[in-house]
Amino acid sequence: MSDTDIVESLKRDLGAKGLELANPAPRRIFLKIAPADLLATATVLRDKYDCAHLSTISGADRGETFEFLYHFASPVAVITVRTGVPRSEPRLPSICAAIPGAILYERELQDMFGVTVEGIPDARRLVLPDDWPDGQFPLRKDWKHVRTEEVIPGGKS
């Protein structure tokens, strides 16, 4: 299946759900959808396009919105599904029902961007420490690392 075949076929299968569809480089397809259509799209990709392998989920802080990119790898192309959620209400449905291997990536998103993944089977923290303060999300652009002051027992000599 060539890139153009995949693009055409995606247009047919997704209909109005596919907001934008681009093929900027060989074997790279970018698709934009609404967050609510994520699970349905993941199921279609898994069943019809041999995209059972989710490589990873990338997040990016785009100011007013957070952008999340799901990189699905089929044997012939990487289909990147892009979705945006508003910064004021960061909520995203889980796709673990279709792709069980997505769990670690979704947990990482929750830690790093403070997005709530709804329906995630396991919502505990993954990469941040248990005593990490609430409301601090390191990969948001407005988050800056402040080194805590070093306390030396007994003071510096």
Partner: protein, 400 residues
């Protein structure tokens, strides 16, 4: 009565400090839980404050064994963003180092597998052989671990005729020695019996859990980024994807031995067919706004970088996913229904880091809440004792 065994955060069998909590009933693991983040260095955030060039050396330091993998994956992506075409000689040298790195990584892993299975002479042999490839890498790049050969638009060092013939000599010796690993099953049935049937991961589960690399290929799925998404030189080389369908640690050994031989083939092809010309093209300082997804087959599996550029000399976003992370859900699956005694072997089979000195595992008794600390060597001794008492898996055959 079930017990919980915490393994980690500091543990020899894992690549990074990671915490695994096993629920066991008797000797059998009924559940495993995973907790990461003990070695989280905030590298993706840091990359946003570094220039495109500085990030090559940053990404190289993600991993201490497959350092070249991350740097190559990053450089590939940035070259796409900068619309830069490296000269073919530069690309050949870059991927020659990639394959040499795969050889050193797989030899290292085979040694660990032998060691965890109680076959230490195998460990000695493979690590002795690994020195050959380490010396070659040092000769090419000047370094044994962080080669720093990549740069935007090509590589930083050229090869001369003397180096080319030394590489071919080294590979010829390695191939001869690797043939021993082919015959190993015939001479060491106890090794095969120890690793057969351990850490089962069915084909369906491997696909569903998004496993990558040799773990996936040992479950009978022939997927390899070098074949399905060939970057630069791989579509000009003649090689096969090594697979196995036994779905266990034996399969993972078989896949890596096969990949070793394929890598020797590729190295010879690249050295003999090395094109003439420049090794590097001049790279611009800034990249136009855009995005790219870069994939690379690291020794441990698919490595993926997603890079966004905003027009400045720094990336807007660099997302890195290393292969070991992708294999964690599959590891949990492998550990389930396994034995405590097989934990070191199963962990080692996904190829985590090897700078593992002897450290400790804490065994907690859920009944008394008492903790007892066991050294890794004791755990291995128990593993050997268990497999010694177990009936030898007579139906396990070495597939070569």
């Amino acid at each position: 009565m079930s017990f919980q065994i915490p393994i980690g955060p500091q543990h020899p069998a894992l690549k990074e400090p990671i915490s695994l909590r096993m629920t066991v009933e008797g000797e059998v693991i009924t559940d495993a839980d995973i907790r990461l983040g003990y070695n989280h260095r905030g590298l993706e955030k840091l990359a946003e404050e570094r220039t495109w060039i500085q990030n090559i050396y940053l990404t190289e330091r993600i991993c201490g064994i497959c350092s070249h993998s991350h740097a190559t994956c990053y450089v590939q992506g940035v070259e796409k963003l900068m619309e830069l075409t490296p000269p073919r000689r530069g690309l050949y040298i870059r991927y020659l180092v990639s394959e040499l790195e795969r050889v050193h990584s797989h030899l290292l892993w085979l040694g660990v597998a032998g060691h965890e299975a109680g076959f230490d002479s195998f460990f000695m042999y493979t690590w002795r052989d690994r020195e050959i490839v380490m010396d070659l890498l040092e000769m090419i790049s000047g370094n044994r671990v962080h080669y720093a050969i990549n740069t935007l638009g090509g590589v930083r060092r050229d090869l001369d005729e003397g180096q080319k013939s030394k590489i071919l000599e080294g590979v010829a010796t390695l191939r001869k020695r690797s043939e021993y690993y082919f015959r190993i099953g015939a001479t060491e049935p106890s090794f095969v019996a120890r690793i057969a049937g351990v850490g089962m991961l069915s084909k369906e589960r491997a696909i569903a859990l998004c496993a990558v690399g040799p773990v996936l290929r040992a479950s009978g799925v022939a997927r390899d980024v070098r074949k399905e998404d060939p970057c630069a030189v791989y579509d000009e080389l003649d090689f096969n994807i090594g697979t196995a369908d036994s779905c266990d640690v034996l399969g993972r050994v078989v896949v890596r031995v096969k990949e070793l031989l394929e890598s020797y083939k590729m190295i010879e092809q690249m050295v003999k067919g090395l094109p003439d010309g420049d090794i590097v093209a001049k790279a611009p300082r800034k990249a136009k706004p855009g995005e790219t997804v870069s994939r690379y087959e690291a020794p441990r599996g698919e490595n993926i970088h997603y890079i966004q550029a905003n027009g400045s000399d720094k990336p807007e976003r660099l997302k890195v996913r290393a292969p070991t992370l992708a294999n964690y859900p599959a590891t949990v699956e492998m550990l389930r229904k396994g034995f405590i005694a097989d934990i070191p072997l199963i962990f080692a089979a996904i190829d985590p880091c090897i700078c593992c000195a002897e450290r400790t595992v804490t065994l907690v008794s859920a009944r008394s809440g008492e903790e007892s600390v066991v050294r890794m060597s004791d755990l291995r001794r128990r593993a050997l004792a268990r497999s010694g008492n177990a009936p030898v898996k007579g139906n396990a055959v070495w597939p070569f």
